[in-house]
Amino acid sequence: MQVTEAFKHAFLKQMLLGFQASAVSTKSMGFQERKNAIKLSADVAMAVARGSRKWTRGLIAGLSEERQNRSFLRLILGEQYESLLKPCHSSWKIPRCKKIVRRSLRVCWRKQKKNQSGVLARTLVEKRTQELKRLVPGGESMDGSSLLDETLDYVLSLRAQVDLMQSLLTTFEASKLRSHSKRRLPERKASYVSK
């Protein structure tokens, strides 16, 4: 499974826009600040490029919790910001008939009474599900199968993010190398000439 080229393009564009918007290239920022700004713009770019999914909405909601990020987010997303935040299904509960829920709970309880062998396995799985919910943004409000769905999507996008950032890094480093070598050449020439 691979992400599409369009996603990669949109991702990169958004990231560079984000870098520009947060004025990352100016030297006035401290190291930590710059790192946070880069991470923020990378995450936002990933969410925007992916579109509207549960985890993207959760991610942006999580990011916008801090005040300092909100202006940046608004700048980047424009009108999309509000639209992404509004249909926040995380707070919605799937409407369920109480009777049926009670019935199924009764069944589960009876099953557990009669069958104690699967309890350990179930608790392990539940623990891990809880942890996964913590990792995936917006995961707390998802149920089992949709959680796995969103995890799949999230993993793909994370991978793409890592790839893009790595290639960006090598690009910048290589260009820095070139620029350094270029700068050195006239010096060497000068020194040679002087000799």
Binding site: V24, K35, K39, S167
Partner: protein, 472 residues
């Protein structure tokens, strides 16, 4: 024809009524679960009253019910699956095809294939009991069929009668014994690929689908409208038939629950030798619940399979907990990588102005790079549009710039490039603090990055050969 079997039951004075509430009707007393209780009580009655019922008859009686239920439940399951996954319309049974096989196609390709294979070997003996398995169902029908024929002594007679009764089996929850038999017979005869049977199957399956969809709708979408219909069905059933007949209808859901519960437990039992054995799974929810559970479980397992393909190194792990563990580790490692890369980018970034100048300013060598003509100091948005389109070619340029690094024969060129470029950066970069930090961190990252080096390689591997070609 089946009356003689009802009579001894009545004679033995068994009270087949229970007082648990009918969950589907939500009111009336629930007739006891017919099939396995019948087995139990038949055997008990044999022991008690000393009736000399020949064992084959008991076996036939028991097995007659079980496969029919399983067939019916399979049909329903397939309908529910179809509804679940959005397949539209009734299943079309083609002429000459195995209708039962088509019904099973929703379940899983493998199971369906196996079922078809089983159908084509009618003489196959009943193998081990696979609860709620297509194999078992299909296999069990054949000996039942032979037994039935043996009882009645003529094939045609039995089938004709069943044909007549077929439309009486309106629902899977039809009541009378002949209806059960006829509905059970439908798949059996359907294997012979008669057109009548296929149409009959379609009608019965569609009616079963209706009922199943009602159940689904009731349980899932919580609409109260269908409840009334179910109530009326239950009542109608009770009115129409007597004791013996009323019991099979309501017992079927329980039997199905048992089967599904068994399937979840994956018990392997041979009912031939063990039909007295009772699986105490009576306190289950209604069938719609267990079926919904099954659907949910299948969905989850499907998604786990996708994740297994995605996460590297997960092919050996089979358990859910282990898989989730791996997934969690992978997600955590990816997130840490993002952190680390952003830190590295922050480290590189002070030079970004100069980089951008050199990136877009001083490029005359490469004719493909159009951005060379565009002076770029800082990133303006219009230039960005062009720049991101040519980011691919940019990478070409960058790698051409560091072509001496590329020309080294390396198995892992991407890693080599990054390694040496970083190394040279470190040498160039005067600050010692950054050196040590980046080196340490880079060492760690390089280990981490092994896992993702391959996709990165694929990203850049395409570019490198082009570069080399251009070099030549």
């Amino acid at each position: 024809m089946w009356m003689p079997f009802v009579a001894p039951l009545a004679a033995s004075g068994l009270d087949l009524r229970d007082t648990t509430t009918c969950r589907s009707c939500q009111g009336g007393p629930l007739p006891p679960s017919w099939p396995w209780r019948v087995e139990q009580r038949l055997s008990r009655s044999v022991l008690r009253t000393g009736n000399n019922w020949p064992p084959p008859i008991i076996r036939i009686v028991a097995s007659l019910f079980t496969p029919s239920l399983r067939v019916l439940s399979l049909r329903e399951q397939s309908q529910s699956d179809a509804k679940e996954f959005g397949d539209a319309g009734p299943l079309k049974t083609l002429k000459g095809s195995c209708s039962a096989c088509e019904l099973l196609s929703d379940l899983s390709a493998l199971e369906g294939q196996r079922a078809c294979a089983e159908w084509q070997q009618p003489g196959q003996e009943q193998s081990d009991y696979h609860p709620y398995d297509a194999d078992y169902c299909m296999q069990s029908l054949c000996p039942v069929e032979t037994a039935f024929r043996a009882l009645h002594g003529c094939n045609g007679g039995g089938e004709n009668e069943n044909h007549g009764n077929v439309h009486g089996s309106n629902d899977c929850f039809s009541n009378a014994w002949p209806d059960i038999v006829s509905s059970m017979h439908c798949p059996v005869v359907g294997a012979a690929a008669s057109v009548e049977e296929t149409s009959v199957n379609a009608s019965s399956s569609s009616s079963s689908r209706k009922r199943k969809s009602e159940n689904n709708r009731r349980s899932k979408e919580n609409s109260g409208g269908s409840d009334g219909k179910d109530d009326s069905n239950c009542k109608r059933i009770k009115e129409e038939t007597g004791v013996g007949a009323a019991t099979p209808e309501a017992k079927r859901p329980n039997k199905r629950k048992e089967e599904s519960a068994d399937a979840s437990k994956e018990n392997d039992k041979a009912p031939k030798s063990d039909y007295i054995h009772v699986r105490a799974r009576r306190g289950q929810a209604t069938d719609s619940h267990s079926l919904a559970e099954r659907v949910r479980r299948e969905r989850i397992s499907q998604r786990m399979k996708y994740l297994q393909d995605l996460v590297p190194g997960c092919s050996k792990i089979t358990g859910k907990a282990g898989m989730l563990d791996e997934i969690i580790n992978y997600v955590q490692s990816l997130q840490r990588q993002v952190e680390f890369l952003s830190m590295k980018l922050a480290a590189v970034n002070p030079m970004m102005d100069i980089n951008i100048d050199s990136l877009f300013g001083g490029r005359e060598i490469n004719p493909t790079c159009k951005s060379a003509s565009i002076p770029m100091i800082g990133m303006s948005s219009e230039l960005l549009d062009q720049s991101y389109l040519q980011f691919g070619s940019l990478q070409h340029d960058m790698f051409m710039g560091s072509s001496d690094l590329l020309l080294r024969p390396n198995v892992n060129p991407a890693a080599a490039v990054s390694d040496t470029s970083l190394g040279s950066c470190l040498n160039v970069n005067g600050s010692s603090v950054w050196n040590t930090n980046l080196q340490n961190v880079y060492g760690v990252e390089f280990q981490l990055g092994r896992g993702t080096a391959l996709p990165f390689q694929s990203l850049q591997g395409n570019l490198l050969p082009n570069n080399l070609k251009m070099e030549m």
